[in-house]
Subunit: 302 residues, 2 copies
C-alpha cells in the first residue's frame, strides 16, 4: 500500500477497500460452505462497519517499519472476531438489539440459532486467517504463533468475553465509574490493543514499542467508547444509523450518566492526547498514521 | 505416560485423569477471569464427558511413535471445542435441551447469555491451548501452526459448525440417509478426524499415515454416531444418563429411523472393521491403542 501523502480519510478508505477484498476471499476456493451459514456470516461482515481494528493492525505494522500487506490476514482475523462479538451481543439472551447500523441484526434475519452459528464460525475462521501470516515466509512461524496466542488471550475469558460476562452481570446496575471503565477496557480495549500489538509485532516492533502500542490502544479504546456514549446523547440519528438516547431509555450506565456530557468530552480529549504521547515517545520509524487515527476518532460524529 | 500393558479401560481412565489435571490448569495463574464465567466454563468442561477426542489425540501421537505428553495441549484444546459445541447446541435457539449426562444443561444453570459466553470463551481458549504445543520446543512452530490451521478448518464453517448449520436447517425433515450421514460426518466426524491428525502430526506421522488416520476417524466417527442413535432406541436410561426413545418422540431422523436397528448395528460393525484395516495397513510403530479404542467404542453401552 503506497499512500504516504494521502489524507487520513483517504487512507482509511483505501485500507477498508483492500480489507474487503481480502475478506471476500478468506475461504479457500475448494471449501464447501453451507450457503445459509455463509450468507449469515457475510451479512454481518459486510454490514458497513468502521473497520477500526483492522486499520489499526495495518497502521501499526507500517508504524513499526513493516509492510501492511504482511499483516492483512490478521486484519481480516480481528474484523471477524469483532463481527462475531456483535452478532452474539445482539442476541435476545444478551443485549436483545433489533437493529445495528440501520439494518436488522443478524438473528432478526437468520434466526437465533443460525446467528449463534455464524458467530461461532467467524470466531473459528479468524484463527484460520491468523495462521496464514506465516504462509509466504514473510513472518516467522514463531511470531505467527505469538500473534495467535495473543488473539486468544485478548479475545477470550481474560479479555473481551470476560468483559461481556461482567457487562451481562452488571446489567442489574453498575454503581461505580471504575466498574464501567473496567468493562470498557476489556469489551473494547482488549481487541484494539491486540490489533495494535499484532500489527506492531508483524512489522518488527521492539518490546518497548509493543508496550507503547498497548498504552496507546487502551487510551484510544476508552476514548472511543466514551465518544460512543456521548454521541448516543448528542449525536445525529441519521449519521449514527441508530436511535439516540437509547442508553438513557434503557437506564444504561454510561460515561455521561456518571460524569455528564461535558466532562465526558474532556476525557476523550485527555485520553487522545495521552495516547499520542505514548506513540511519539516510542521511536517508531513511521508513526504518522497512528497519530492521525487518534485525532480522527476523537472528531468523529458517527 | 507408561501404560503399555494396561487394559484399554485402564488406558482411557489414565488418559482422562491426566487430561483433567491439565484442563484444570489451562489458564495461566496470573490471569484474572470473571468467576461466574469461569464457573460456567468448568461446569460443562467437567460434566463427565467420555473424553473420546482428547484420548484419540494422545493415542494417535503414540501410534505415530511420539510422546503423548507433547500432544496434551491439543488434547485440552479439542475437549474445549467439543464442550463449547455442546453448550451452544443445547441452547433454546438450537436443540433446546434441558439435560445432558443427567445434569441440567449450561444455560439452565447460568442463563442463556452466560452459556453463550462460556461457549465463546471455551472456543477461544482452545486456540490458546493449541498454541502452547510449540512452547517447550518439542514441536516445531511450523507444525504447531499446521495443527492450529486444521483445528480452525475442521471445527469451523467447513466442518463442525457447517454440520450444525445443515442440521439446524434439516430439522424441518431430512428425507435421505445420505443427508443424515453428511451431517454426522461434519458434526461428529470432523472433530474426531482433527484429533487423530493433530495427534499423528505431533507424533511425527507421515502424510500417508495422516491420510489413514483421517479414514479411520471418519469411520469410527460415523460408527459412534450410529451407535448413539441405536442406544437411544434400545439403551439403558441409567447408563446413558438421559431418556431413551427421545429421538423417536421428537420425530428425529436417525440411522435406525432410516434402516432399522439391526441394520444400524451391522453398519457399526462394518465401519469399525474398515476403520481398523486403514490403521493396520499404514505401518504405524504403535497402533495398538487406536485399534483397541475402535473395538471399545463399538461395544459401549453408554
Amino acid at each position: 500500500m503506497k499512500m504516504g501523502s494521502s489524507s487520513i480519510a483517504e487512507y482509511i478508505k483505501t485500507c477498508s477497500e483492500q480489507l474487503n477484498r481480502h475478506l471476500r476471499q478468506s475461504f479457500p476456493s475448494d471449501w464447501h460452505i453451507d450457503p445459509t451459514l455463509k450468507e449469515a456470516m457475510e451479512y454481518s461482515l459486510f454490514a458497513g462497519g468502521k473497520r477500526l481494528r483492522p486499520i489499526l493492525v495495518l497502521a501499526a505494522a507500517e508504524a513499526a517499519g513493516g509492510e501492511a500487506d504482511a499483516a492483512m490476514p490478521v486484519a481480516c482475523a480481528i474484523e471477524m472476531v469483532h463481527t462475531y462479538s456483535l452478532i452474539h451481543d445482539d442476541l435476545p439472551a444478551m443485549d436483545d438489539d433489533d437493529y445495528r447500523r440501520g439494518r436488522p441484526t443478524n438473528h432478526k434475519v437468520f434466526g437465533d440459532g443460525m446467528a449463534i452459528l455464524a458467530g461461532d464460525a467467524l470466531l473459528t475462521h479468524a484463527f484460520f486467517c491468523a495462521a496464514q501470516i506465516a504462509k509466504d515466509g514473510r513472518v516467522p512461524a514463531e511470531r505467527a504463533l505469538a500473534v495467535i496466542e495473543e488473539l486468544a488471550m485478548y479475545a477470550g475469558a481474560r479479555g473481551m468475553v470476560g468483559g461481556q460476562a461482567a457487562d451481562l452481570k452488571g446489567k442489574q446496575g453498575l454503581t461505580k465509574l471504575e466498574d464501567l471503565e473496567s468493562i470498557h477496557l476489556r469489551k473494547t480495549g482488549d481487541l484494539i490493543v491486540f490489533s495494535l500489538r499484532a500489527g506492531g509485532r508483524i512489522g518488527g516492533a521492539t518490546d518497548d514499542q509493543l508496550a507503547a502500542l498497548e498504552r496507546f490502544g487502551y487510551d484510544i479504546g476508552l476514548a472511543f467508547q466514551i465518544q460512543d456514549d456521548v454521541l448516543n446523547v448528542i449525536g445525529d440519528e441519521k449519521k449514527l444509523g441508530k436511535p439516540v438516547k437509547s442508553d438513557e431509555k434503557r437506564n444504561k450506565a454510561t460515561y455521561p450518566y456518571f460524569v455528564g456530557v461535558e466532562e465526558s468530552k474532556r476525557s476523550v480529549e485527555r485520553l487522545t492526547r495521552r495516547s499520542k504521547e505514548a506513540i511519539e515517545r516510542a521511536g517508531f520509524p513511521r508513526p504518522e498514521r497512528l497519530l492521525e487515527i487518534a485525532d480522527y476518532l476523537m472528531k468523529r460524529d458517527h
